[in-house]
């Protein structure tokens, strides 16, 4: 083992170890808990930086731990892993700051931050899994570690949401487990391979491979919230805002989408998947989800539920880009993994600020909010406009590539879906922005938190900084999309490798 083979393990441990220590702390040890959290997040950020540099220079980072005589826990950092790991790490860092501010003074914080760190560990494990079995293990671990966060408040509503969450994710996990085990008996250890590894089995196992693909997509589709497997996501919004922000905008749904990307590109191989004819149904499912999610978002009054349905819709761009199967569309899908994450977390942070500062939970209560909380509302607006796809924001880049990719492949119906979805995005986001900026305030705010009076800021600084940073990033990744270290540049690198170009 050289230092490169330790690297993925260290990255995992940088959130696992603080998480485990935090569990043992008492509620009162606030300073120590905060230090551990921030230290873990900072170390992980630094390690990921080193990793990105290394992967750019062609270094191989791989950790292998034997589990069974013929089974390895394999952590492997390729360009695709780095994309997801980098996103999760940056957003974990920001969300940790946000969560510390948000949960100030509430109970069970040690438990919360402990599980929060474990979730991040599972997400990073998913991103760096080097084979399907390792992926599966972290995928299940993510289910287990997010459940306590969903039910964190312990109310009967939270417990019910938790049960629904479990029913969906455990069943999905079981299906994925079966599919992976079955595929392993056909194709061996399932080491992720750029351009895929199953095409040699196409002759003998055609039916089996199609069935397994369907099972895997359903298993992963639960977390990626593909319709009709999405019902848990809006319910899970009972969780505290940082959880909704990181886990339901980024970690959990992205884990599902990322899994779909892995299965299509690195297990089946995109060309082989096309040949099997399994991508077209996936594209249809994704398109259906995009439209359905937007339509649902249109009728929501609860802000977090609106955002949840918007997530349902937007995450499927990733699956759509994957399923259209052409290099350009792939770029659009993969880059949306990052872009959607940045935009959606901004929106959730802002929604949390509204709720925490003024008690605003509903869209109808947002009149005049732009004057009361201009900074937060500005960040919110950037996120929302990005979601709609206004240039030069992040969402525009994704949609542009998706649309061009569909055109290249001659799938005009996808363009129709994109246009329709953009119209719907505008239809549910613009009224919110209009209310906040242009309508006058109606009566007092629902529940204004007095301890924030006297501060020059509109809300606690720990709640304000993270959305401003992510909003700036939303703008930045759009403006500087052509730079080689932007998400788009990185995704191009991945795409060239996946297609063997």
């Amino acid at each position: 083992m050289n230092e490169n083979s330790w690297m993925p393990l260290f990255i995992l441990l940088s959130s696992l170890v603080p998480g485990l220590i935090i569990f043992t702390l008492s509620e009162k040890q606030r300073a120590l808990r905060t230090t551990l959290n921030m230290a873990g997040a900072t170390i992980k950020l630094l390690l990921i930086g080193v990793l990105i540099w290394g992967v750019l220079n062609g270094n191989v980072y791989e950790t292998r731990i034997p589990l069974l005589p013929d089974m390895y826990l394999e952590l492997h950092a390729d360009a695709l892993s780095v994309l997801f790991a980098g996103l999760s790490t940056v957003l974990w860092f920001l969300t940790t700051i946000y969560a510390i501010g948000y949960l100030e003074g509430s109970s069970n914080r040690s438990r919360f931050f402990g599980f929060f760190s474990l979730c991040v560990t599972a997400t990073i494990g998913i991103s760096m899994a080097g084979n399907m079995i390792t992926f599966l293990m972290f995928y299940e671990l993510l289910t287990l570690t997010t459940y306590p966060l969903v039910v964190h408040r312990g109310t009967s509503q939270a417990l019910r949401a938790g049960n629904i969450y479990l029913a969906f994710t455990v069943s999905g996990g079981a299906l994925l487990l079966l599919a992976v085990a079955w595929l392993r008996t056909i194709a061996g250890p399932l080491h992720f391979t750029e351009t895929g590894l199953l095409s040699v089995y196409g002759q003998d196992y055609r039916i089996e491979l199609i069935t397994i693909f369907a099972m895997m997509i359903i298993g992963l589709g639960v977390k990626a919230a593909l319709v009709p497997l999405h019902a848990w996501l809006p319910k899970a919004m009972v969780a505290p805002a940082p959880v909704s922000a990181l886990l339901h905008a980024v970690a959990v749904v992205k884990a599902g989408a990322f899994g779909i990307v892995r299965v299509v590109y690195d297990v089946y191989g995109v060309n082989f998947a096309l040949e099997l004819g399994v991508l077209y149904p996936l594209a249809l499912m994704a398109a259906l989800t995009i439209i359905y999610g937007s339509l649902q978002a249109l009728v929501q009054n609860d802000l977090k539920r609106l955002l949840a349905y918007s997530t349902v819709s937007q995450v499927s761009y990733i699956a759509l880009g994957t399923a259209i199967a052409g290099p350009v569309a792939t770029i659009g899908g993969l880059v949306h993994l990052v872009h959607q994450g940045l935009m959606k977390i901004t929106l959730f942070f802002c929604a949390g600020n509204f709720a925490e500062t003024l008690g605003i939970h509903k869209v109808s209560e947002m009149n005049g909010l732009g004057r009361r909380m201009p900074w937060t509302m500005a960040a919110f607006s950037l996120g929302a406009l990005g979601m709609i796809g206004v240039p030069p924001l992040a969402g525009f880049i994704s949609k542009w590539y998706l649309g061009s990719g569909a055109m290249v492949n001659g799938q005009l119906w996808v363009v129709v879906v994109l246009v329709l979805s953009t119209v719907l995005n505008a239809a549910y986001f613009l009224p919110v922005l209009y209310r906040a900026w242009f309508l006058p305030q109606e009566g007092p705010w629902p529940e204004e938190h007095s301890q924030l009076h006297g501060s020059r800021l509109e809300t606690h600084w720990m709640l304000l900084i993270p959305p401003l940073v992510t909003a700036a990033l939303t703008l930045g990744v759009g403006l500087f999309a052509n730079s080689s270290i932007s998400p788009l540049g990185w995704v191009r690198l991945i795409t060239f490798r996946e297609y063997g170009l």
Binding site: F23, I65, P66, L67, L68, P69, N108, R111, L136, M137, E140, L141, T143, L144, P148, V151, H152, G154, T155, A158, L159, G162, N163, L166, V170, S171, G173, A174, L175, L177, L178, A181, W182, R184, T185
Partner: protein
């Protein structure tokens, strides 16, 4: 060095607990400390035996120097040593827990109802330990009968220890079941002896021929052992017996005692009688195992009392073990029987932990009615954590010993193309999720006006936690125990007779 290799550690690992039983009976004042002392000494013997095994391969010991067929042999291979080691580790942790659970001999005047139990717990438990070790090491049909009876005697006495009416009637029922089981086994042995004139397992394996007598004898032996292992539909005695015993006893019964008779079934079916068994018989056992999984899980979910839920979960988990027979017969090989043995091991740790944790909850709350335990998670975080970790292993989710075991079984079912077993394994996991999360329902509910003020010794909580941690660790370091299993025994296919005593 040479000393370690020549000492008959096998004999000592039986004699020490029996000696300890006498000692603790005579010196009640120091009973708990003596138990720990003798327990640790036994564990050292088992460790030394393991070393012997690693250096010299499977070990054989002629009791009193008499050779077979007149003498009686002890035989230690990987499977036996693994069971001894599990017994030692689980046993020591339960003993440690029990030192705080049972009041000290000096405090008898307090009038606590546990006092009577405490006096007899220690000698009976060491007696049980000796019987278990003897059973795992016996290579002689009749000697096995004796160890079965010793085991039954001590287990029944322990289960009736509390002296409460339900416990006594459960113990009585357990006693009758145990008697029928042993006598049925003995009748089988008598038939075999009349036919072949040998009792040594190795000699019998080389002489046994298919035929009505052999089949009848095997049927009698199997029914006897299946009764003792509580295979569906012979499970009726288990829930009341396990649920009404004091917590350390429940843990011992569910973790270790039921495994002993299963261990014999595994040895006899796969090691001694492979030429006698046929597909109908193995399918019947597999089918009953499948029914046990489904029935046990459903019943577990329906229980209102925590300990009954846990006891029914034992019924379900034991069902998994019986899937080994159809799996091995159709070529499942080590993946099948290794997985089954590993499940027995990880279930031992997980279930012991759960019963100990339930004992703590009962102690603190004064009852174990699940619906009335709101807020218990706030009061007993460590216990709840133990319960959750052990629950993960029961669910068969990674990372846990239960995952590795079920993964192996699932693979064996897929390799041998037995789809109904695949379905049962997956379904069993989903049903387990139902009862495990019911068990954990109150981990997150906020504390209510009902206060759980009863103080609880820290070592009780940490013993339960340590057992759960081992169940998890078995999922991360599976290779050493599996190598131990694999290297020294081979149940695989037709060649397996050579490897058996």
């Amino acid at each position: 060095m040479s000393l370690i290799l020549t000492v008959p550690w096998m004999a000592w690992s039986i004699l020490l607990p029996l000696g300890g039983a006498v000692a603790t009976f005579l010196s009640r004042r120091y009973a708990s400390r003596l138990t720990l002392l003798f327990g640790m000494a036994t564990a050292v013997c088992v460790g030394a035996l393991g070393w012997q095994l690693a250096l010299k391969g499977p070990q054989r010991h002629h009791i009193g120097g008499w050779q077979v067929p007149v003498g009686i042999d002890l035989y230690a291979d990987g499977l036996a040593v693994l069971m001894l080691a599990v017994t030692a580790l689980v046993g020591l942790l339960i003993s440690f827990y029990a030192t705080a659970y049972f009041p000290k001999a000096g405090q008898e005047e307090t009038g606590d109802q546990n006092v009577a139990s405490s006096v007899y717990f220690w000698p009976l438990w060491l007696f049980l330990w000796g019987a278990l070790n003897a059973l795992f090491l016996s290579a002689d049909l009749f000697n096995i009968y004796v160890t079965l009876e010793l085991l039954g005697l001590s287990a029944v006495a322990l289960s009736g220890l509390s002296g409460k009416a339900e416990a006594l009637s459960a113990a009585m029922r357990y006693l009758f079941v145990s008697m029928i089981g042993s006598l049925s086994y003995l009748l089988g042995v008598a038939l075999l002896y009349n036919m072949y004139g040998v009792l040594d397992l190795g000699l019998l394996a080389s002489e046994v021929r298919p035929g009505p007598t052999s089949q009848a004898a095997l049927a009698l032996i199997t029914v006897g052992l299946a009764l003792k292992t509580a295979l569906f539909p012979f499970h009726f005695w288990l829930p009341p017996a396990h649920a009404n015993a004091p917590a350390p006893v429940s843990a011992l019964l569910s973790a270790l005692v039921v495994k002993a008779s299963f261990y014999l079934l595994l040895r006899l079916w796969l090691g001694v009688f492979p030429t006698v068994i046929n597909t109908t018989a193995v399918d019947l056992l597999g089918f009953l195992g499948a029914l046990a999984i489904i029935w046990g899980s459903i019943q577990a979910f329906r229980q209102r009392r925590l300990k009954l839920l846990v006891a029914y979960s034992t019924v379900a988990q034991l069902g998994y073990l019986f899937l080994v027979f159809p799996l091995v017969l159709r070529g499942g090989d080590f993946t099948a029987w290794g997985g089954s043995a590993y499940l027995a091991v990880s279930h031992a740790f997980a279930k012991a932990s759960i019963f100990l944790a339930s004992g703590i909850i009962m102690h603190v709350a004064g009852h174990d009615r699940i619906d009335e335990l709101a807020g218990i998670g706030q009061r007993l975080p460590v216990t709840m954590f133990a319960l959750a970790l052990a629950g993960v292993s029961l669910l068969g989710l990674p990372p846990s010993g239960g995952f590795i075991a079920k993964w192996m079984l699932l693979n064996a079912a897929l390799i041998t193309g037995q789809w109904w077993l695949v379905a049962v394994i997956i379904l069993g996991g989903l049903l387990a999720a139902g009862y495990v999360f019911r068990m954990l329902a109150h981990s997150f509910t906020p504390a209510t006006w009902i206060s759980f003020e009863q103080p609880v010794a820290r070592r009780m909580e940490w013993s339960a936690f340590a057992l759960a941690a081992v169940a998890i660790a078995l999922g991360l370091v599976a290779e050493p125990p599996l190598t131990l299993l694999q290297s020294s025994t081979s149940f695989a296919g037709p060649g397996l007779r050579e490897m058996i005593p």
